[in-house]
């Protein structure tokens, strides 16, 4: 069986879901952030695959993925900044302890 678009898409989906699981189940905020990065990467895989199989001559998908990387970088920067700020005030990066506000 030759590798096809579906393979890439399923791989992408799997990566996405692993990322999602990580984001929802880990207590360490930094790990959560990393999981989110995995999710974004998964999307990129899909985008590039689409680019390759659907519109091979127009590189929109690849460009899209490029932008996603930029956004990811920005998100990580801000996210880490917030985590550090939180760490300064709460001395923890445990997401389960971030429950000052509820109800």
């Amino acid at each position: 069986m030759s590798v096809s678009l579906e393979h890439y898409l399923i791989l992408s989906a799997l990566l996405f879901c692993i990322g999602l699981y990580g984001a929802l189940s880990r207590r360490n905020t930094i790990v959560i952030l990393m999981s989110i990065e995995i999710m974004l990467n998964a999307v990129n895989v899909a985008l590039v695959a689409f680019s390759r199989y659907i519109v091979p001559l127009v590189l929109t998908g690849q460009v899209f993925a490029l932008f996603v990387m930029v956004v990811a970088a920005a998100e990580v920067a801000v996210g880490l900044a917030i985590i550090i700020a939180l760490y300064r005030s709460r001395e923890t990066v445990d997401v389960e302890q971030a429950d000052l506000m509820k109800g």
Binding site: L20, A23, L24, S25, V95, E96, A98, D99, L100, M101, K102, G103
Partner: protein, 633 residues
């Protein structure tokens, strides 16, 4: 005669009411007498005009005058309610009765009510009542009639509760109003019913429809019964009789005027007014007669044992009203109204007598009286005349009308005749029981210390004179029909010579029978309460259950007030409804509100502050929505 004049008859007391309540009471309260004078003057005018109207009616062809209407309210295209007057023989007679008795009682009241703080109020109400009553007898359509009908009921309420600070008076007033209203419910229904079937409220039009046979059958019967229900309420006929004895809590002149002579007779008048309707319904007429006869004996039986002089007279009134109904039922307008006419005078007189006695002794309890014939001769004599008239002793007025009723009922309803005859005996007994106990023997009053300090005395002239005048009427009013004129005037009578009328009656057996029965009653009273040959106590002991039953008024008050209104409705059904309202209706509303708030609390607890939970919801949302689409899309 100018058309406006009949209007003035009932408007004149109305003006008096307005003047007293808007001018005299607020601004001249320190001259209370003024209100009395105003009332007497106003009713004097009415009285004068009533006589004038009577003369005009006598002269008029068909004994009726045409009075133009005033349009009151248009309720539909072409259908409007008019305010108009009907002036015929019946009206004329009633006008005389009402205005004369009222005038006399107003005069009497000046003495009786002397010094009462509510003096102007009393006269204001009395004016109002007289106005309504006069209007009632003249109204030419059902709505207008009903207006006055309720108006007199209102005045009755106000006057029974005149001494409102006495709980008994307030209760009695309320009871009177509500019980009569129960009857009026039927009356109102009948009005609606008649309008539905005929499209008119006009009484004369209804008469002609009934006579023409357009209005007939069950429709007519039901309408007639509805009207009779109103009449029964006002005239305290069984089973709506319970209010009248209690109504004696009002000032005695009020009892005399409203609860003896006029308003209670309005029921009888009402049936008479609608007699063409009753006439064409055998069933209705029979029911009127039966109820009347039964009420007569039923009330009389209770009158036998009462110790309150006014209550005795009150039961007598109910009984006599039953007589009138019987009269209407068995023979027609003329007989019933004739008794009404006579009864008005002697019964008013009896009440005034009672008032006079009370004025002297300060009590109505006959056990606290005695020997008053010596100190109060005028009262004594007039009372005796009235009592004899009531007992139906020849040739006093009561005899004539009662006799006619007996004769007619003997002809058509022998059973009712028997009841009526027994009633004659009872009537004679209870009224003479009062006479002997109050006026005979020695004075037994002990309770009222402040009265015993004074000498017992005859009432002032202002009270005595009206009594004397009434006594005169009580004696002779029956003679008006000696020639059959009165009956003929009311459309039902046979002409005869004056002497034949006066003496001829003695040639028949039936009058003798009633005279003998009445005589026996008087004799029994004499034996028990004057000579004490028979001990009343012993009799009482012998018939304990009967005595109790009578003195407890057959437990009707208990049945109505305690069991029906109290236990069943107010403390029974209505409690249930209130609970339903509070717990089921309102409770469910509050319950829903509380549940919503509780749900809000519970749901907000899901918001734990755990951001991963929030993330879970997002992911779950995606999956769930997709699944939904898969299954429902």
């Amino acid at each position: 005669m100018p058309h406006q004049v009949p209007w003035l008859i009932w408007l004149s007391p109305m003006f008096s009411f307005i003047i007293i309540s808007l001018i005299l009471r607020p601004f001249f309260n320190h001259h209370p007498k003024l209100s009395g004078y105003t009332t007497i003057a106003a009713i004097g005018i009415s009285c004068f005009l009533s006589f004038w109207v009577l003369i005009e009616v006598l002269k008029a062809p068909g004994h009726r005058l045409e009075i133009p209407d005033i349009q009151w309210v248009v309720i539909e295209d072409g259908i409007s309610i008019h305010l108009g007057l009907i002036v015929d023989a019946l009206t004329a007679v009633m006008l005389i009765v009402v205005s004369v008795v009222s005038l006399l009682i107003q005069i009497y009241s000046q003495g009786y009510m002397h010094g009462d703080p509510g003096y102007p109020r009393y006269y204001a109400f009395m004016s109002l009542f007289t106005g309504f009553m006069l209007g009632l007898v003249m109204a030419d359509n059902l709505v207008f009639l009903f207006l006055f009908w309720e108006g007199v009921g209102l005045c009755s309420y106000l006057l029974i509760g005149f001494w409102f600070h006495r709980p008994a008076a307030a209760n009695a007033a309320k009871k009177a109003f509500i019980v009569t209203r129960l009857g009026d419910f039927g009356f109102l229904a009948a009005i609606l019913f008649l309008f539905y079937h005929t499209g008119t409220f006009d009484i004369e039009r209804l008469h002609s429809l009934a006579i023409a046979g357009t209005l007939a059958g069950t429709t007519l019967t039901w309408a007639a019964l509805g009207i009779f229900s109103g009449a029964a309420g006002k005239s305290a006929q069984f089973p709506l009789h319970t209010w009248l004895p209690d109504a004696m809590e009002g000032p005695t002149p009020v009892s005399a005027l409203i609860h003896a002579a006029t308003m209670v007779a309005a029921g009888v008048f009402l049936v008479a007014r609608f007699f063409p309707l009753f006439e064409h319904s055998k069933v209705a007429l029979t029911i009127v007669a039966v109820i009347g006869a039964f009420t007569a004996i039923f009330a009389a039986s209770m009158g036998l044992v009462m110790n309150d002089i006014k209550r005795v007279v009150a039961y007598s009134t109910i009984s006599q009203l039953g007589y009138m109904m019987l009269g209407l039922g068995v023979s027609g307008v003329a007989v019933g109204i004739f008794h009404l006419f006579n009864h008005a005078f002697f019964k008013a007189l009896l009440f005034l007598g009672a008032g006079s006695v009370n004025h002297a002794t300060g009590t109505f309890d006959i056990r606290e009286m005695g020997g008053l014939r010596r100190v109060m001769p005028w009262t004594y004599i007039t009372f005796i005349i009235a009592a004899l008239s009531l007992a139906g002793i020849y040739p006093l007025s009561g005899f004539w009308s009662k006799d006619e009723i007996l004769i007619y009922s003997f002809k058509t309803q022998p059973f009712l005749f028997t009841l009526a005859l027994i009633t004659v005996f009872m009537t004679a007994f209870y009224i003479f029981r009062v006479v002997f106990v109050v006026f005979g023997g020695e004075y037994r009053g002990t309770k009222l210390a402040h009265h015993s300090e004074h000498k017992l005395h005859e009432s002032p002239a202002v009270m005595v004179i009206p009594m004397v005048i009434l006594a005169f009427f009580s004696a002779v009013s029956g003679w008006l029909n000696l020639t059959g004129n009165f009956g003929e005037f009311l459309g039902h009578g046979e002409a005869r010579g004056l002497l034949e009328g006066f003496f001829g009656i003695l040639g028949k057996p039936l009058p003798w029978l009633s005279l003998i029965v009445a005589g026996l009653g008087i004799y029994l009273a004499y034996a028990m309460y004057s000579t004490r040959r028979i001990s009343p106590e012993a009799v009482g002991r012998t018939f304990v259950p009967l005595y109790t039953t009578l003195s407890r008024k057959y437990w009707f008050d208990e049945l109505y007030e305690r069991i029906f209104v109290g236990k069943t409705l107010v403390n029974g059904l209505f409690v249930g409804l209130e609970a339903f309202d509070t717990y089921a209706v309102d409770g469910s509303v509050n319950g829903i509100a509380d549940k919503t708030i509780a749900t809000g609390r519970a749901l907000s607890r899901v918001q734990t502050g755990q951001l991963q939970l929030y993330g879970l919801f997002i992911a779950m949302g995606i999956v769930a929505i997709t699944i939904c689409f898969y299954f429902f899309g």
